[in-house]
Amino acid sequence: MKKVLVEANINGETVEFLCEARQSLLETLRDVLNLTGSKEGCLTGDCGACSVMVDGRVVCSCLMLGAEAAGKNITTVEGLATGNQLHPLQQKFLENAALQCGICTPGFLVAAKALIDKNPNPSEEEVRYALAGNLCRCTGYDKIVRAVIEAAKAVKSGAAESRAGAR
């Protein structure tokens, strides 16, 4: 099985790796790069547990080949925190008990980040629409939606603070 040499930017770092043509991006992240944060739930793009961001857009990594990552900027759940500082989404998920078993949480965090990066002030409806591709079986989504709305507000006020600080 011939392997493909791929160079991509993953969570802010340039990474070079070899993968088989038949390995999905999900398999590549988990089995080749040891980034096991993204999860396999269905392999058909119906659960979103494998969600990663590619050039700022959320996609199912199970439906992309590792080879297709060439030249792309990929963000996984492992790339959301800055050093030891959690992203407000991660913090709000914890404060709101927006996870029970936690298996869907990486996918939700990535999808939520993609949402609030583009839409800093989402309504409940907009949050629900943006997260409709991520299944959760434990929470009934209530606390997840609340966490995302709170996180969006926190990001906005944090941004306002740092702008204020910079003046």
Binding site: E20, R22, R30, D31, N34, L35, T36, G37, S38, K39, E40, G41, C42, L43, T44, D46, C47, A49, T76, V77, E78, L80, A81, L86, Q90, F93, L94, E95, N96, A97, L99, Q100, C101, G102, I103, C104, T105, P106, L109, E124, V127, R128, Y129, L131, A132, G133, N134, L135, C136, R137, C138, T139, G140, Y141, D142, K143, I144, V145, R146
Partner: protein, 763 residues
């Protein structure tokens, strides 16, 4: 046993701290079963039957073995013959023959997806290619897919040596018939002013955990083995795997990984014995992970069912009699939750005259496994909609109907002594007084429905240790895998008793070597029973701490107590000492302190929930939207309210999926058509509103903190609540689950509903 905990003030219990494992889970660091990897590890894949019902005439593996990279293949011949009778396996009662045959088929395959062989190879891709090279010769038999078909005289027999408790030596597909009888049924119906009789059909549904099954086994050359897996019960994995593979349980250590959902479906074994057997054969670690298709085809869903129910009441709404005939699909091997369903179906109502006939029926579907209050949701769909009809006939508010007939302390309990203090009526009243129920629902095609539910909850065995460290922190070790955030509650109980901050207590779920026997995380028992063990272990530590303080202060131990979180000497003269302060002195005063406890928990408190749902039904497409939803549940005492709310919301969401769109769809050959999450339709974020929760606290007198298990009962009322709401929205009484749009259209046409008018207009 316990004083009314509603009177006690707690420092930690009842607050909402961040869970200790939270940071790992939001950063992707937490290790679930499929995340484990070991040097030299092989990958396993399972060959599964493409037929619903067939005799296996031969299995040839030689071509597959020759494929480069394949290291071993096992079939049922590699497993010991298992006895065909109920036996203890560890702490469970199982039929070893059925369990073993479900793990790897022997002689016959009984459902589409039934495992036949397992391959270990150097990559998962090679393992899957090898499956294609295994040659199986089948004699295909006609599939039996419904309880009606299975119970018909002359039906094809699934298990030739299956006998039930009634038909002597006759071959049958009815594994068990149980009857519950009380009072005088005829007299009861004669006393009724109104009688409603309906027949219900509910479809088979799956727990739907997002994480597929997984297992990694390492069998060492000294005969000691370790299994890593996502499971609800490490000790059960140990005993069942040992039983199936023919290894001593004492030689197996099971390490429970983090688990991505279970809901009862991960309380048994599928891949663990295969991984163990393959590792034994190859001498290497072996990892198996199910695909979603395998999860749906071959891991246990819960039963579809047929339930006929007849209920009578007086004109002022008192139930006088009820009769039930219920048959549940067991799947390929016996063991549906029909008996539990039979004990739940009339459990919330206080009346005398009943007759219930319950049938456990094998069909060519996967062997069913537990699913959150197993058996009760099917039952409530029947009882709670018929009760709704009776309420309407009597002109009584549906919640008042429940309150009027509801069980309370002293009422007869279906499965044991009369109820102690319970909260059924209180949950109904909580809904009645809720902002939701008090609000007006306006607009066409909208309706509001309510329903209630009961679940026994379980006690069973748990062990716990609490270690006091020299720096004054503590660790609390249990054997209960954490599927919903329970470990933080264990830390909170420990912190409360020891006067510590919850951040100074580290909770840990241990492997089977590191903690005493602990039964599954299931049955709504962790906060109840493991919490009880933790409480007692912490109290055991307190006893020892009091002895040390007494020694230090040269006082009698009876004169030292734990008061407001500090060790305090009666009278005056000695300032109170915190656990932190005494911790550094432990070495000098006798050594480290470990509190321990093991319980076989008695005093289980029954669980009740009530759910209110507002729906809107599109009068042309019959698509149902859930507009608003509120659930009230008696938690006894909520240790961590956020996670209690989470259980209530999660169970409600699953119940709504069960109500509206989830079902197993088989074709006429018995092949599962929707073995993926595209067509097995679980609710998405966009399908649900916020789920309002009301935690009722009627303390359970059987628990030191008043705890009642909360994990299950919230799934019981929603299908009936949604059905009752649909009735009020468009005037159609549904008796089939799921209530998908095509079924609503059909029912509406039958009734001559709105759809008729539109079809006529288009002509």
């Amino acid at each position: 046993m316990a004083e009314a905990t509603s009177n006690r003030k707690f420092r930690v219990i009842g607050t909402r701290p961040i869970r200790h494992d939270g940071v790992d889970k939001v950063t992707g660091r937490a290790k679930y079963g499929a995340d484990y990897s070991f040097p030299g590890m092989l990958h396993g894949k399972v060959l599964r039957s493409p037929h619903a019902h067939a005799v296996i005439k031969s299995i040839k593996v030689d071509k597959a073995l020759k494929l480069p990279g394949v290291k071993a293949i096992i079939t049922a011949d590699d497993l010991p013959e298992a006895p065909n009778k109920m036996q203890q396996a560890g702490e469970m009662a199982i039929n070893p023959s059925h369990l073993s045959r479900n793990i790897l088929a022997r002689g016959k395959v009984l459902y589409d997806g039934h495992a036949i062989a397992a391959v270990a190879a150097t990559s998962p891709h090679i393992a899957e290619e090898a499956l294609k090279l295994i040659e199986v010769d089948y004699e295909v038999l006609p599939p039996v897919m419904t309880v009606e078909a299975a119970m018909k005289p002359g039906a094809p027999i699934l298990i030739p040596d299956l006998r039930n408790n009634e038909e002597g030596d006759k071959q049958t597909n009815v594994a068990q018939h149980m009857q519950f009888k009380r009072g005088d049924l005829d007299k009861g119906f004669k006393a009724a002013d109104y009688v409603v009789e309906r027949e219900f059909k509910t479809a088979m549904v799956h727990q739907g955990y997002i994480e597929p099954h997984n297992a990694v086994a390492i069998y060492n050359n000294d005969g000691q083995a370790t299994i890593y897996c996502s499971t609800q019960g490490a000790f059960d994995v140990r005993s069942l795997s040992a039983q199936v593979v023919g290894v001593e349980p004492g030689k197996i250590k099971v390490v429970p990984a983090e688990i991505g959902g279970g809901f009862g479906g991960k309380t048994t074994v599928y891949l663990e014995p295969l991984a163990l057997a393959l590792s034994k054969k190859t001498g290497k670690p072996v990892k198996l992970v199910m695909t979603r298709s395998e999860v749906l085809r071959a891991s246990g869903p819960t039963s579809g069912s047929t339930i006929k129910i007849k209920m009578g009441c007086t004109k002022d709404g008192k139930i006088t009699a009820a009769q039930v005939w219920m048959a549940y699909e067991a799947g390929g091997f016996p063991g549906s939750p029909v008996v539990a369903g039979a004990m739940c179906i009339l459990a919330p109502y206080d009346f005398e005259n009943l007759l219930i006939d319950a049938y456990d029926v094998v069909v060519n579907r996967p062997k069913t496994a537990a699913y959150r209050a197993p058996g009760a949701t099917n039952a409530a769909m029947a009882s709670e909609t018929v009760l709704d009809e009776l309420a309407e006939k009597c002109g009584i508010d549906p919640l008042d109907m429940r309150i009027k007939n509801g069980v309370k302390e002293g009422s007869a309990h279906p499965a044991g002594p009369p109820y102690k203090r319970i909260g059924y009526i209180q949950t109904c009243e909580a809904i009645k007084n809720s902002p939701h129920y008090k609000s007006k629902l306006e607009g066409p095609n909208r309706g509001r429905g309510v329903a209630t539910g009961f679940w026994f909850n379980a006690g069973m065995q748990s062990s716990a240790t609490v270690n006091i460290h020299a720096d004054g922190s503590a660790s609390v070790v249990t054997g209960s895998p954490d599927i919903g955030g329970s470990r933080v509650s264990m830390a909170m109980i420990t912190a409360e008793v020891l006067g510590l901050e919850v951040t100074d207590v580290r909770p840990l779920t241990a492997d089977t070597d590191s903690i005493g026997h602990t039964d599954v995380t299931g049955g709504s028992r962790v906060t109840f029973a493991t919490g009880m063990a933790v409480y007692e272990a912490a109290q055991d530590a307190v006893r020892q701490l009091r002895e040390r303080a007494a020694k230090l202060w040269e006082r009698k131990v009876e004169d030292v107590e734990m008061k407001d979180g500090k060790l305090t000497a009666k009278g005056n003269g000695v300032p109170p000492m915190s656990v932190k302060e005494i911790a550094s002195k432990l070495g000098r005063t006798g050594g480290p302190i470990t509190g321990r406890a093991s319980v076989n928990a008695r005093g289980v408190g029954a669980a009740f929930a009530a759910t209110c749902v507002d729906v809107e039904v599109d009068p042309e497409t019959f698509k149902v939207q859930i507009l608003r939803c509120t659930v009230a549940q008696d938690a006894g005492k909520a240790i961590h309210p956020s996670y209690v709310e989470g259980q209530m919301q999660g169970g409600t969401a699953q119940g709504i999926g069960w109500a509206l769109n989830e079902e197993y769809i088989y074709d006429d050959k018995g092949i599962l058509r929707n073995s993926g999450l595209l067509d097995y339709r679980m609710p998405t974020c966009l399908d649900l509103p916020m789920i309002e929760t009301i935690i009722v606290e009627e303390p359970n007198p059987g628990h030191p903190l008043g705890v009642r298990g909360v994990g299950e009962v919230s799934i019981v009322p929603p299908p009936a609540a949604v059905a009752n709401a649909i009735y009020r929205a468009i005037g159609v009484r549904m008796t089939e689950l799921p209530m998908s749009p095509p079924r609503l259209l059909k029912a509406s046409l039958k009734r001559g509903g709105a759809a008729d008018a539109h079809s006529a207009a288009a002509d």
